[in-house]
Structures are given as structure tokens and as C-alpha cells.
Amino acid sequence: MILVNVLGVLLIALIVWWFWLYQPQATDLGASELTIVVENGTYQPARIQVPANQSVVLSFLRKDSSPCSETVLFPALKLSETLPLNKVKNITLPAMQEGEYDFHCQMQMYRGRLLVV
């Protein structure tokens, strides 16, 4: 029984670490032609590094037909765009100050983050 309890606590610790503490590597926008694929409940890549004080363009390709993925919102930038299915959509972002900016779908089931450096 003790073993089960310890396992449970460890599992909780793992969840905290995996979803909140661990910082996955960010993909640099500038490196190459980067397309954010919207599929299976995720943005891939979901962490994107972009340069500060400079307008950038994000290309989204939505392959997921669930209606939740249809809209992508950048709440801090007051921006929202509709993503067509199976078609690249370019979204121009204004110059941003250094910091982290979330983007997500209407339901917040799809989540991504911009790291502005």
C-alpha cells in the first residue's frame, strides 16, 4: 500500500515537472522556412523563438478538422485569425518587446508560446 502511495506522489511530481517546470527547446523562427502545423490537438512546434522589436510572419498549416483548431488567438496582441484547412495561412505579427506571449485556440485546447528575445 505504501508503495502505491509513493508511486502516486511520484506521478504527481512527474506531472508538475513535465507540464509546468520543464522548458522544452524553442524553435527559432529565423532559421528556416518554418510552418506551424496544427494537428492532433497541438501546434508543432509550439515554442517559437522570434526576434524582438521586429515584425514577423508566422505560417500556420491546419491539418486538423476539429472546429476548435480553426481560430488562433494571440491575446496579448489582440490578434485572432481563422486558419483554413490544409492551406498555409500567413499571420503577420507586430514588433513585440522581449517576453513570452501565448497563443492558443478558442477553447484553449491547443496552446503555444512565442519567446521574444
Binding site: 506531472i15 490537438g41 485572432s80 478558442q106
Partner: protein, 768 residues
């Protein structure tokens, strides 16, 4: 040789440039490029385009992956050239709103079909299993035959999971890899737990206590089926929420009849160029924005402005895309095409506003963002609690409670609660000719307690009109009007314009004027047909020694009615008194009453003197007013009311009122049709009527109420549902939710929210 070529090249370019300046008819189009990955590609694409005959200039924006091409060349030729250079291209207009909508609907239909099939398969297994469990047998595993039978059912369930629930498992795995968790994670974990436990029971019955040898295959199949059903129904309901946008997009005609080289031709709307001549016959829709150059007609603009009366259009008047030509045939010059038309901009704005969230939704957003991992932890804690303290069979209770917690907790309803209502609310407002810029404006308007109305152009028409002509005995009214109109025809003064306009209306032609002289602040004098004419205020008359007699009383009487009296004298003798006033718009009074009826304190603001202000305010039914306010002090008046604790709405015609509009909690700009700087105010009233204000506030109140209902509903499902699922009620009532019920609740939570938001569509802005 090379030099010569380059020289020639340059020449050619210069010529082309000149050509472009000469005829303003040049076409510019944008293409989307695929496959360009380096600066070298940019050069290649530009060169390929420039070699196309007729292209005068091509420039690529690498960041946006677009190329803008100038020259009257068909897009298909350009695309071919780019493809020959080894890249892909498509026109941007190809994903016009109309096409995009059609494509979206097609995709939605396909998705719906798939979900329904998946649902049928999953429930096809789940329902009979559940009926068996409820009516016929215990779902326990004891004998070998039972083990084999249940193993088969377990494999069938696995098949259902792979066919009907594959998207959940793939999504869960993908998002978990991405260090994020979502609805799929919860469903995959919940159904996975139920299935795995059942399979353990089938394979190793000895490790679980006798009482807990229970299988939950039916739960897995039912949950997947119900959630697919929920998604399908939600998809259907969602389609209806965007009806307003669909209607707006539907206003855009698909073709236009342009006159090129003297011939009429029907062309697709995307190919209409700036300055094209467009012909519109009675009953047809205006395809793009433009200026009438031939003919006159009445145009129904109600779809954009909510204004029911058709508007007369003649030469030089503006026409707007999407409106319906009623009576006559006109030719107009296209002044705005494609994405620049007022209609396209309105559609864009409504779309943006529909996707923005009012502050009320932010807490739900914050909760939703952390929800899933928290729920996973709650599920673990709940399972541990059952194992440690629960009654026998503790293992079974632990599995059921963990599964149920995971399944009931999807935060999507919470995430949907606000956007769905905003979508319907903003669309509803747009139908009434009210453009709401964002969710914040929507929320704040529902709380407005005081409304400041600028007088000129807001309460009144903003265009003075001649209201009274009082002549001295024996003087003819038409003659007076003709003389005064002649006298004033050169003047730009608004009062003068009123007189000229009034004469024009009566078909009176002005006469030749000599010796025109404007006497600053007093009036004007001139000679017409050998007579010395004098037109101005009382002071002017007194200075010039004109006797006014009892006309002074009449003038005062007119002034008390908020009219501006002016004297007219011929050869030093008084001939007439002409009163000019800015009339109150027909429906201003009713609209103001509506506002006051809703408990809003209405205050009028004007630069006019107290007497005029008082008269207008009284007529309009307003008790409070600020008179003699300088334009730059308008924002101070807004502040004054705010200091008194009011949530202030400010309504003005948008240009000179900008600082006050910005200072107010919500700025309402009155803009009629096209000349709206749509982006400048929080809310724009497309038609001149103040009813738009009351409509806007009514819609915002209804929307906020709807959002609150949605949030409450979602809250019940998600936050109150979790403790019940964890078994908090068990010690008191012996109640533990079944995972199947949790699945149904989860599936229908979003549906409830969307359906409730749809109720808002039935809301009427005004009872007639």
C-alpha cells in the same frame, strides 16, 4: 554589348514607369508563393515575373511569401511563369471570404460525417454492453468461459478505441510530447484506465479482490461514442453561431458588369480594377465601392446601415458594395475594390471582434490554461484516497473515481463560454448596423450609466436648413430667397449653404453678383441687379442704419426655438427675416427616450450658446446639457462625469470628437456608410440614427447575460462536477458517478454552451 543591353533595359523600365504614371488604370495584384526558401529564390521569382510581357514591376516580400505584381496581366499567366521557375503560386483572392466559407462548410460536413460514423460504431458496442450489464448479467469475471468472452469484448473495445477514438489517443500522445495537456489527454487517460483495468481483470483475475473483478469495457466504448456525438452536435450548433458573418459575406456579388473599351462585360468580382467603369441596373447589387458618374437611382443600404429608407444617388455620390440598386440604372467609377471595399472591411472587423474576448472571459481562460494537469493530479489523489480509506472493493472504486474525474473535467466548455456568445452578440449588432470593435467595448457598453451626446450631427442632422422666411408686407418670398442665395453663393459659411441649398430645392437659380463683401462676424453685402443687398445679424443692420421695428421680437422668438435668425435688407430697407436651424433627426427623440428608459443619464454637449442648447435639449427631451463647450474641452466634460462615478459613453461624429471618444469608457462614432473611419471608435453606428446606441447597449447587455449563463453552466460541469466524480458525496449519500454519465456530461457541456449562445440569435434589438 552587355552594357547596351542594360542600358536598354533601364530605358524600357523608365518607359514603363512613365506609362504607369500616365494611366492610373494599372493593376496591382498579390500572389502567394510556395516553396521559396532563400533570397536566391526571390530573385528568380522576380525575374521570371518581369519577363512576362505586360508586367511592369514585380517585387517579392520574402517574409510574407507574397509577391506584388504590377501590370495588366491575368493572374493565371503569372502563376504559370512562377511554376515554370520551379515554385508554386496562388492568388490571394482565391481564398476570398466566399470560397473560404464554402471550403470550411465542406470540411465541416466531412468532419461531421466522420464523427457520426465513429459515434455509431462506438455506441453500437457500448449500448448493448451497458444494457447487458444493467439488465441481464453481472459484468464480473470468474469462470474461464467468462474470461474468454470478456477477452473478446475487450478486443472489440480496443477496435472501437482505435477506430472511433484514434484522434484522442494520437492527440494525447502528441500534446504530451509537447509538454502540454488538453482534452485528448483527459479522454485518452480516462478511457485508457478503464480499458487497462478491465484487461488486467480478464488476464490476471487473481491480483484483484473477488468483489472488484468487474470490467468497464462498456464505459470505454460509451465514453468515446458520447464524446464523438457531442463533438458532432457541437459542430452543427457552431455553424449557426456564425450566421451573421455568412449573411454579410453573402452580400458580396460574385460578378460585376464593367465597361471596358466601350463594351459591357461580366467579369468575376476579383477582376474589377480600380477606376473601372461599372454599370448597375435596377434590382442588381452594387459590386464594389465607387462614385456615380452617370444616371441617378435610389439605393437600399439597409443591409449595411440598418436604415430602412432607400437613399437617392446621383452623380458624384458614393455607392457601396453589397447594397441594392432599386430604381434607376447607373454607371459608376470603382474607387475601392477587393479587400478595400467598406463591406470587406466591415466583414473583417466583425470577424476580428467576434474572436476577441471581453475581460469577463479572462478568468475562465486562466483556469482553462492550468486545468488539465491539475485534473490529472486530482484523479491520482482521488484514486489514492479510495485505495487508502475506501470501502471494499477499494481498487474498483479507485479506478471508477479516477476515470470519472478525468472524463468529466474537460475544460473546453469553459473555454467556449465567452467566445461563442461574443460571436453571436457581435454578429447580431452588425445586423443592426452597429459595429463593435472588440470584446472589451462589448462588455463596457453593458455597464454604461451616462451617455454624452454631441449635439451637432449626432442629435441633429448636422446640416442647417432654412426653417422660416418672414417677409415684410408686399415682399415676395421666392424673390428673397433668390436674392439671398445669389448673395451667398460664393460663401462657405454653413448658414449660407443652408440658404443656397434651400433655393436649389425650390429650383431657384442664382443671379450674377458684383461687389461682394464679407463683413467678418456680421454678414455679407453685395450688389445684385443693381440693388444693394445686405444679409446678416442684428448688429450689422443697426450699423448700417436699417430699421428693424417689430422684427426684433420675431427674431427673439425664433432664437428661443433654437433657430438662428438673419436679417435681409434691400437698398437699406428691411425685406425679410430668414431663420436657419439644424433640425433634430426624426428618431433622435425616440432613441433618447429609449436610453433614459433604460436608466441611462443622457447629457447633451454643444459648442452653441446656452439659449440654443436649451431649446434643442428641451425638444430632444434631455434634462442636462453642457453649452458653449470648446472642441478641446469636450474630453474634460467626459472626465467630469467619470469623476462622479459614471461609466460614460460618448457619442460624436467621429472627427472633431476624437479625444472625447477616446476618453470615454466607450466611444460611439456616428458614421454613415462609407466615410467611416471604422477603426477609430470602440463602436461605430453605421446609420445616423441614435437608435443604434440603444441597440448597441441592449445587445451588449444581452450578450453579457448570455456569457454569464454560459460560464455558470461550464463551471457546474467542470468545477462542481469534479468533486462529485472524485466521490466526495459518497460518504454522505453513497453516490459515485458512473464514468459513462461523466462522458455524457463532458460531451454535452460544450454543446450546452454553444446552444445557449445560439439563443442569443433570437434576441431582438428593438420591440416595435
Amino acid at each position: 554589348m552587355a552594357k547596351a543591353v542594360r542600358h536598354q533595359d533601364k530605358h524600357g523600365k523608365a518607359d514603363a514607369e512613365k506609362q504607369r504614371c500616365h494611366d492610373g488604370m494599372e493593376q496591382q495584384q498579390e500572389l502567394l508563393i510556395q516553396g521559396a526558401s532563400c533570397a536566391g529564390c526571390v530573385k528568380k521569382i522576380e525575374a521570371a515575373l518581369q519577363s512576362v510581357p505586360g508586367v511592369t514591376h514585380a517585387e517579392m516580400n520574402f517574409a510574407q511569401r507574397t509577391v506584388s505584381v504590377e501590370g495588366a496581366v491575368d493572374a493565371s499567366i503569372l502563376i504559370k511563369a512562377i511554376e515554370q521557375a520551379g515554385y508554386g503560386a496562388q492568388t490571394q483572392s482565391a481564398d476570398s471570404d466566399d470560397d473560404a466559407l464554402e471550403e470550411k462548410e465542406k470540411a465541416d460536413r466531412a468532419y461531421y460525417k466522420r464523427l457520426m460514423l465513429e459515434m455509431t460504431i462506438a455506441l453500437g458496442l457500448g449500448v448493448p454492453l451497458m444494457i447487458y450489464g444493467l439488465l441481464i448479467g453481472e459484468m464480473t469475471v470468474t469462470t474461464t468461459t467468462e474470461r474468454i468472452a470478456w477477452l473478446l469484448v475487450g478486443l472489440l473495445t480496443l477496435g472501437v478505441m482505435l477506430f472511433s477514438g484514434k484522434h484522442f489517443y494520437v492527440g494525447a500522445w502528441q500534446s504530451c510530447k509537447n509538454h502540454s495537456a488538453n482534452m485528448d489527454t483527459l479522454i485518452a487517460l480516462g478511457t485508457g484506465t478503464a480499458w487497462l483495468y478491465s484487461m488486467v481483470v480478464v488476464f490476471f483475475p487473481q491480483v484483484v479482490p473477488d468483489m472488484a473483478r468487474h470490467v468497464y469495457f462498456e464505459a470505454t466504448a460509451m465514453i468515446i461514442g458520447l464524446i464523438d456525438l457531442g463533438l458532432a452536435l457541437e459542430l452543427k450548433a457552431r455553424g449557426r453561431t456564425s450566421e451573421a458573418i455568412k449573411r454579410l459575406i453573402g452580400l458580396q456579388p460574385k460578378t460585376a458588369r464593367v465597361i471596358r473599351d466601350g463594351n459591357d462585360m461580366d467579369i468575376p468580382i476579383e477582376q474589377v480594377r480600380l477606376h473601372d467603369l461599372v454599370r448597375v441596373r435596377p434590382g442588381e447589387k452594387v459590386p464594389v465601392d465607387g462614385e456615380v458618374i452617370e444616371g441617378h437611382t435610389a439605393i437600399d443600404e439597409s443591409m449595411l446601415t440598418g436604415e430602412p429608407m432607400p437613399v437617392e444617388k446621383a452623380e458624384q455620390d458614393e455607392v457601396v458594395a453589397g447594397t441594392i440598386n432599386k430604381t434607376g440604372s447607373i454607371v459608376f467609377k470603382a474607387t475601392r475594390v477587393g479587400k478595400d471595399t467598406a463591406l470587406a472591411q466591415i466583414i473583417g472587423m466583425v470577424k476580428r471582434a467576434q474572436n476577441s474576448k471581453p475581460p469577463i472571459g479572462r478568468l475562465a481562460d486562466v483556469i482553462a490554461a492550468y486545468f488539465v494537469p491539475v485534473i490529472m493530479m486530482i484523479a491520482i489523489v482521488s484514486a489514492l484516497a479510495w485505495l487508502n480509506f475506501g470501502p471494499e472493493p477499494a481498487v474498483a472504486f479507485a479506478v471508477v473515481s479516477a476515470t470519472t474525474v478525468l472524463i468529466i473535467a474537460c475544460p473546453c466548455a469553459l473555454g467556449l463560454a465567452t467566445p461563442m456568445s461574443v460571436m453571436v452578440g457581435v454578429g447580431k449588432a452588425a445586423e443592426a448596423g452597429v459595429l463593435i470593435r472588440n470584446g472589451e467595448a462589448l462588455q463596457t457598453s453593458s455597464k454604461i450609466t451616462a451617455m454624452i451626446l454631441d449635439k451637432t450631427g449626432t442629435i441633429t442632422l448636422g446640416a442647417p436648413k432654412v426653417t422660416d422666411i418672414v417677409t415684410v408686407d408686399g415682399v415676395d418670398e421666392a424673390g428673397v430667397l433668390q436674392q439671398v442665395a445669389s448673395l451667398e453663393s460664393g460663401s462657405e459659411h454653413p448658414l449660407a449653404l443652408a440658404v443656397v441649398e434651400s433655393a436649389k430645392e425650390r429650383g431657384i437659380k442664382p443671379l450674377a453678383v458684383t461687389g461682394f463683401n464679407a463683413i467678418a462676424g456680421h454678414g455679407v453685402e453685395a450688389v445684385v441687379e443693381g440693388k444693394n443687398l445686405l444679409f446678416g445679424n442684428e448688429k450689422l443692420m443697426k450699423d448700417q442704419g436699417v430699421a428693424l421695428d417689430d422684427f426684433v421680437d420675431k427674431a427673439q422668438q425664433l432664437a428661443a426655438e433654437a433657430k438662428t435668425p438673419m436679417y435681409f435688407a434691400v437698398d437699406g430697407r428691411l425685406a425679410a427675416l430668414i431663420a436657419v436651424a439644424d433640425p433634430i433627426k426624426e428618431d433622435s427623440i425616440a432613441a433618447i427616450k429609449r436610453l433614459q428608459h433604460n436608466g441611462i443619464r443622457v447629457v447633451m454637449l454643444t459648442g452653441d450658446n446656452r439659449a440654443t442648447a436649451k431649446a434643442v435639449a428641451e425638444k430632444a427631451g434631455i434634462k442636462e446639457f453642457f453649452a458653449e463647450v470648446l472642441p478641446e474641452d469636450k474630453s474634460k466634460k467626459v472626465q467630469e462625469l467619470q469623476m462622479q462615478g459614471e461609466v460614460v459613453g460618448m457619442t460624436g461624429d467621429g472627427i472633431n470628437d476624437a479625444p472625447a471618444l477616446a476618453m470615454a469608457n466607450v466611444g460611439f462614432a456616428i458614421g454613415t456608410g462609407t466615410d467611416v473611419a471604422i477603426e477609430s471608435a470602440d463602436i461605430t453606428l453605421m446609420r445616423g440614427s441614435l437608435h443604434g446606441l440603444a441597440d448597441a447597449i441592449a445587445v451588449s447587455k444581452a450578450t453579457l447575460r448570455n456569457i454569464k449563463q454560459n460560464l455558470f453552466g461550464a463551471f457546474i460541469y467542470n468545477i462542481a462536477g469534479v468533486p462529485v466524480a472524485a466521490g466526495l458525496l459518497y460518504p454522505f449519500f453513497g453516490l459515485l458517478l458512473s464514468p459513462v454519465i461523466a462522458g455524457a456530461a463532458m460531451a454535452f457541456s460544450s454543446l450546452t454552451v454553444v446552444t445557449n449562445a445560439n439563443r442569443l440569435r433570437l434576441f431582438k434589438t428593438r420591440e416595435h
